[in-house]
Amino acid sequence: MSQRKNDDWMGTPLPRKEDRRLLTGKGKYVSDIVIPGALHAVFVRSEYAHAKILSIDTSEAEELAGIERIYTGDQIKHLIKSMPQPIVQPALPAHYPTFWPLAVDKVTFHGEPVALVVARDKYVAEDAAELVFVDYEELKPVLDPEEALKPESAIIHEKDGTNEIFSMTFTGGDTEASQAENAAEVEKIFQNAPIVVKDRFKTHRTGVTPMEPRAILCDWDDSDGLLAYITTQRPHIDRLALSDILDISAEKVQVIAPRDQGGGFGVKAPFYRENIIIAHAARDLKQPVRWVESRYESLMNVGQERDQINDMEIAADLEGNMLALRNFGLADNGVGTTGVYWGFVMPFLGAIELPNGYKWPKADIRLKVATTNKACLTPSRAFGHFPTRFAIERCIDMVAHKIGMEPSTFRRKNLVADLPYTSITNEYFDSGDFLKVWDTLMEKANLPDFRVQQKNALSEKKYIGIGFGCGVELSGVASELFVPMENQPGYGAATVRLDPRGKVQVFGGDAPGGQGHETTTAQVVASEFGISPEDVIITTGNTGSTPFGSGSVGARMGSYFISAVAEACRELKTKIAKFLAHDLQLEASVEHFEFKNGEVVYLGDDSQRSSFMSIVERIIMFPINMPEGETGGLDATTFFEAAKPMICFNADCCVVEVSLETGDFKILKWITAEDVGNVINPLIVNGQMHGAIVQGISNTVFEEFVYDEQGQQLTADFEHYKMANAADVPNIDLNYATTPCPHTPLGTRGIGEGRPSSVPGALTNAVCDALKPFGIEITTLPLRPDAIWQKIQDATQ
């Protein structure tokens, strides 16, 4: 990564502009925003996984002093449209459940909102919520996805007559006949293949819950309409959805995602039912209303993903060529009552990304998604493909073991060597060099040395192992995929506005949650105009001032948003050059000028120049004697759409030591190789990688949402939902093997979103490698000492 030259801030480890306020307690998150007179809202949530609501008695609660209003589903169902609404419904055929923000007639998971108490005091609102009595008639909960799809199962959403919310075949074309023909061809390969491995790979319910839970503060004015501060990655989508559902004309809805948000990781990307009723309450009571989610509510309702079974088969030959892949996935969707994703969009994308960066001559990939009485799946970093990546990276090792080949050699032999490439599920890999990344990893891993160490360790009865994995990750989501997937555009949009003092304001409609947009954007703008990052300020997440953006999702920053920023800067540079050439009476255009050190310099004669500020001021403030056809002002909005979907690529190696006595293991080393394209700020990129990998480790080893046989959520606090702390995780040796992206103006790639996906496979492969003397193959997560110990017992008895 290069150090800074002149005003080229690209690749500079610039400390972040965000940090000072966050380090001194001056950040402003939604729960820190005060509107005088704001009322406090507390939800009454279902105690049962599946039950009829017979009656709700709010009389005792209403007697408490300071209660403004208690809402129930029966009261609001005639006032608020039901979901789904088109703005938050993908263009994928599915059984979309009908629901309101508060449960109507029955509850479908433990923690579902049943009533809303609005009071003047937070503590009183909580007291009142406990005095709301709901009379339930329990129904049999549907908790197992395989059972859910059997004809004798109780049906959760009766109107559909099935618990299958979604199913799809991803290979063999669009018709049933072509898919059947493809399946038959794949079957034939499996019948004749010398090596076949088939197993069931299970991933548990976990995700990336952010440290800041959800919150919303709504204000209402009869003329201006609704102003909503929301913890959200998608303020523009939330705005349209609130407008549509509450029948408030769109110009009267403003959503602000504050610039300070305590992490998102996908969890703040859906359109949530709680926001609908809080906005309705503010309108109904004509008072500001605030809801701040408790951790207990958060863990009951959101951040749950990855709950999936993959029945996978790989066929290979004895030389280590992959011949065919077959996977029947079954995802446990939970109830599906969450806008934008409905749960199943994650496993849908997970199936598309299943083949990873390998060349599969043939594949048969299918997915079913079952509704159950659990919280709806919500997106979590490595959107949808944590389960399928675990399955494929684990299964690849098992095939290599059967062939008698190093798993790393088997991988390299089958990685896509020439890009661009279209995967067997029609995922487009635009550019990059997978082998360069892989070889960078292998050089650092030093496998021959490790095998010697491993042998020596074994003679001392120490079990160390090495594991590998890799991942092709989306770098932003092109409209080509985003429109059908979520009914939303993929372009990045930015407004760049110069002011007469030569300073720059940037406006973006996405809504970051800690990724350092203020700093990276300032670096790019400063590089383009030859000024300092200190002269640049960015506004994000305010629908009143920013151009439309689909949100901070899918690694859109480094791919789409920053490209729009760069293109807007270049548009303004063209105009500045035109004015300067005119004023200096030169026959010149933008390519004849250099923007550096706060000046615009004519390359043909560097005595011909202007300070950046003067020429900018001249164009904005003194719009006379202008080039023909020009107008004053320097303000540009651009929409960047890449010609093709883009990707980034990464690979992991980890080394573990396993204790035979306890099944516990320690991660001794974590080495990576990354193609992140051109880097804007290496500090920030490193931070993204560290965070993502540790999230992957924490998900693989520690975190698990557990429901009991009645569908009761047992893990709704951090005592029981165990997240990795600093002493649980290793240091990480990051290595870069970058290829600039040819489809973005700066050669950058969007990074970080999918990054956890190669972690569970690499880590489990390392544990299995350590236990190879016993032939142990682990196919189920979480990867816990007790399960490993049991495997050791089974193998050694």
């Binding site: 480890p13 400390p15 972040r16 965000e18 940090d19 000072r20 966050l22 380090l23 001194t24 307690g25 001056k26 950040g27 402003k28 998150y29 729960s31 820190d32 005060v34 937070k122 503590y123 990336v208 819950t209 952010p210 440290m211 800041e212 839970p213 300070d260 948000q261 305590g262 992490g263 990781f265 408790s294 951790r295 207990y296 949650g513 800690g514 990724q515 350092g516 500090l683 920030i684 490193n686 931070g687 560290h690 965070g691 993502a692 990998i693 540790v694 999230q695 606090d717 951090f718 005592e719 997240m723 702390n725 600093a726 002493a727 995780v729 240091n731 990480i732």
Partner: protein, 159 residues
């Protein structure tokens, strides 16, 4: 109701509060110091609400405001009262020890106290000292680097 007099960052707050009011709510809602955050359900696991009670790091969600009566509290806003960042705050900036910043105040308060008690900790000791603070963004690597940087600066100043 209870009458309390709590010194927060050198300012005295004399207030009448419900007996059940948590110290973290007092800090956020009565003193209007919102740098102290709430990240778990008042179970003391996440550490985002860590403040100093008479100089010692405590979790302000585990105390009632009434228990802090007649005591001195320092919050993250009180770490750099004259606007000059402490070496630890500076190190968090230069080492990129924070992303979303939600857990950061608690980590700064904990580590400020920790470094007073253990001026020359090993990496493992720093990691163990951080067990009471959850961070979701950073993977802890840069946080450890920031704390180590301060330790190294202190050690090189001594020699």
């Amino acid at each position: 109701m209870a009458k309390v007099a709590i010194d927060i960052n050198g300012r005295l707050f004399q207030e009448e509060v419900p007996e059940r009011m948590l110290l973290v709510d007092f800090i956020r809602e009565r003193a209007h110091l919102t740098g102290t955050h709430i990240g778990c359900t008042y179970e003391g696991v996440c550490g985002a609400c860590t403040v100093h009670l008479d100089g010692e790091a405590v979790k302000s969600c585990m105390l009632l405001a009434a228990q802090a009566d007649e005591h001195k509290i320092t919050t993250v806003e009180g770490l750099a009262p004259d606007g000059e960042l402490t070496p630890l705050q500076e190190a968090f900036k230069s080492e990129h020890g924070l992303q979303c910043g939600f857990c950061t105040a608690g980590i700064l308060m904990n580590m400020t106290d920790f470094l007073k008690r253990y001026p020359n900790p090993s990496e493992q000791e720093i990691r163990e000292g951080l067990i009471g603070n959850l961070c979701r963004c950073t993977g802890y690597v840069h946080i450890i680097n920031a704390v180590r940087k301060v330790v190294q600066e202190n050690q090189s100043r001594k020699t």
